[in-house]
Structure formats: C-alpha cells, structure tokens
Symmetry: C2
Subunit: 188 residues, 2 copies
DNA sequence: CCGAATTATTTTAAGTTTAAAATATCTCCA
DNA sequence: TGGAGATATTTTAAACTTAAAATAATTCGG
C-alpha cells in the first residue's frame, strides 16, 4: 500500500521518499486549501443570509440545530462535542440564548454536575422557520452538483473524515507515520 | 435536467415539487454537514498542533502563509480577500504580528490609503519551519486517500466552489432559484 | 468507605471575528 | 475642476473562541 508514492510525478524518487519531512505533499496541501476555500465560501454566505434574513448568528443557529435533533435535551458537554467547539464556548452561547428565551436549562437527572439544555417553544418555532430557509440556501449553493456528484463527494468526505479521525484521535506527539516507533525526523 | 428530481425517493411527487421551499434538500444538507465536520476536524487538529509545537495561532499561521506566497507584500485588502475574513479582522491580526516582529508594514507606492504588509526575515524563517511540519500533518491527515481519491475530490470541490460562488456573487435578495423573477415563497 | 482519578462545567484572560460606522483617499465624469 | 461615488483602512461594540486553571461532582479500586 505504501509502494506507490509519487505516482504521476516525473521527479526522481530517492530512497528517502518515505522519510517523514521530505515527502511530496503538494496534492494533499492543495486539497486541504481547496476544501477550506469551499467551506469558508459557503459558511460566509450562510452566515450573511442568517443575519440579514433572521438577525441570528451562525453559532446560535448551529446550537439550535443540535438541540432540535435532540428533543430530550443535551448537556453542555454533548453540545461541545457535537459542535466541535470548546466547553467554555458553549457555556457563553447557552447563557446568551437563555437570556433571549430561545433555550432553557434544567438540572440533569442523576448528575448534579450537568444540566440539560433544550429549545423553548419559541426557540423551536424560530428554528423551524430558519431551518427551512437554510435548507433552501444550501440546496442552491450546491445546485451545480448532480446526484452522482453528491454521492461521490459524500463517500470521499467520509473517507477523509475517518482518515483524519484516526490521526487526530491517535497518539499525540508524532508528526510521523504514526505506526513507526522511530522518530528521527527533520524538525527544523 | 430538472425532470429527475426526487429520484430514488418513494414519496409522492406533486406539481409543487419545483416550488422553492418545498423541495427535497436532504442530500445537499447532509453533504454540507459532512463537509463541515470534515473541515472542522482537520482544522482543529492543525490548530492544536500549531499551538503545541510552535506556540502560534491558526489565524496567524494563515496570514503568514498568504504573505509567503507574495514576496512583494500584500495590502490589508488583499489579505482580507484571500483569507476570506473581514477587513477589521486583518487590521488587528497585522497589528499584533507587527508587534511580534513577524511582519512589517510600509506605505503602498502610489496609494496613500494602503500599506503593504510582508514577512520580516524572522517571520519568513519561522514560517518556513512551520510550513514543512504543517505539510506533513496535512499529508498524514489525508493519508487514507489515494491519488485517485484526491483527484476526484479536487474536481468535485472545484465544482462545488464555482456553484457556490455563482450563488454567493449573484443578486442578493433571493432565496429563490435565482433565475425566476417571482418571489411568492413561504417565508415564515 | 476513602481518596485518587475522572468528568462536567465555569471562569479567566487573551485573542479572534464580525458588522457597521467613521476616516481618508482616490477615480472619474460632467 | 468639483464633487459624487467608490475604495482602503480603522475604529467600535459586541459576540465568539480558545486554552488553561479552578470548581464541583462522580466513579471506582482497594
């Protein structure tokens, strides 16, 4: 599986190709930059639409979206994990949404450290409206892709996701191949 | 091209399928969520590595990366557009990087409103080191994809990007199909 | 049952980010 | 050439975000 490095590139391949820090990582880097551009483009457009149409911020909408999928409520920790943001971030977000009457907190049964957050009736109604528009916007933004494109993208992003998850969840401390115990890398 | 809506779904298709606001946008929505998850996962990992290995924040690294590609310097506006963040954001970021001796500002020749920002020698050296490690990390994170996967992803993301760009750059004011002048949408 | 380790959340400080208003300069055409 | 409109940047206020330390509560092995 690791024999076909550099496939498609005419440059000479030395024995050191597999040594971390000197490989050719151009393709992956370009992929990452394109992914970022694509995501930022869409995210900025959605942020702008949410603000101008509904006067709501993107993080608030995201939090509401998580709660809408969990009728029984979520703890702050659940929200932090699902939104992939820090715990402290969620604390402040929930605080402000409670003030605005969008969400409510109640003690979590069986664990006095936690509380459960859920949408208020008003929050749910508000989200319902926004979610419908949001779905339209997203469909518009991806309007140039056909069903096959979407399927392929879904599959490849799933693959990228598990690849990244493996590395990220793996042992810290290695910019290495992560399977080799050696660590004679160029560090700079 | 628009005949095969709802393909693969057993639900009844009425005449109103093409009316904005009632279409089936599940696939696009799922794609968007997966894209976000994937990006956030990788971005968070890179953020964490940049901090622990080099004690630098992601936005600073991003700004330095833009400058490294432009030896002659960039205006704040250039940086704002390329990084896809607000102008005010760049002002503060540059301010702090100047303080740290990473970048420098000089008046832009021929336009007294602008200034050119570029990396200092120290900033360039610092970036060089970080960029090499960064490239390794990205390659690791995408390690589960083969060359074909990457090519396909690149192509489909390019397609998504221009699709989104068309909508985002298009006329504001329409959550509509953007080609129809009518606007009798469900607004909530 | 006790205390060490873990987990859930909050707090703090600093940095990032946005939108909108304010400045300053430039362009261009009538 | 005068000024209206466009462009570049800064400022402001508020929100968002993170990392790290601090609290509080739970779990669990001995």
């Amino acid at each position: 599986m690791e024999e076909l490095v550099n496939e498609g590139f005419p440059e000479a391949i030395d024995a050191e190709t597999r040594v971390q820090g000197s490989g050719d990582h151009r393709a992956e880097l370009r992929l990452w930059l394109r992914m970022l551009t694509c995501t930022n483009l869409i995210e900025n457009e959605i942020r702008s639409l949410l603000r101008t149409r509904f006067d709501v911020t993107l993080p608030r909408f995201d939090l509401m979206a998580q709660l809408e999928k969990a009728p029984d409520g979520l703890t702050l920790g659940d929200l932090s994990r699902r939104m992939m943001v820090s715990a402290g971030n969620v604390t402040g977000l929930v605080e402000r949404l409670v003030q605005d009457g969008i969400v409510e907190r109640r003690p979590a049964p069986g664990d006095r450290r936690s509380s459960l957050v859920s949408l208020t009736a008003r929050g749910r109604a508000s989200f319902e409206t926004m979610a419908a528009a949001h779905a339209d916007w997203v469909a518009d933004l991806f309007g140039g892709l056909d069903a096959g494109d979407i399927d392929t993208l879904m599959a490849l992003l799933a693959k990228a996701k598990s690849s990244a998850r493996e590395v990220a969840d793996g042992p810290p401390q290695l910019s290495q191949n992560a399977t080799l115990p050696k660590k004679d890398t160029a560090d700079g």
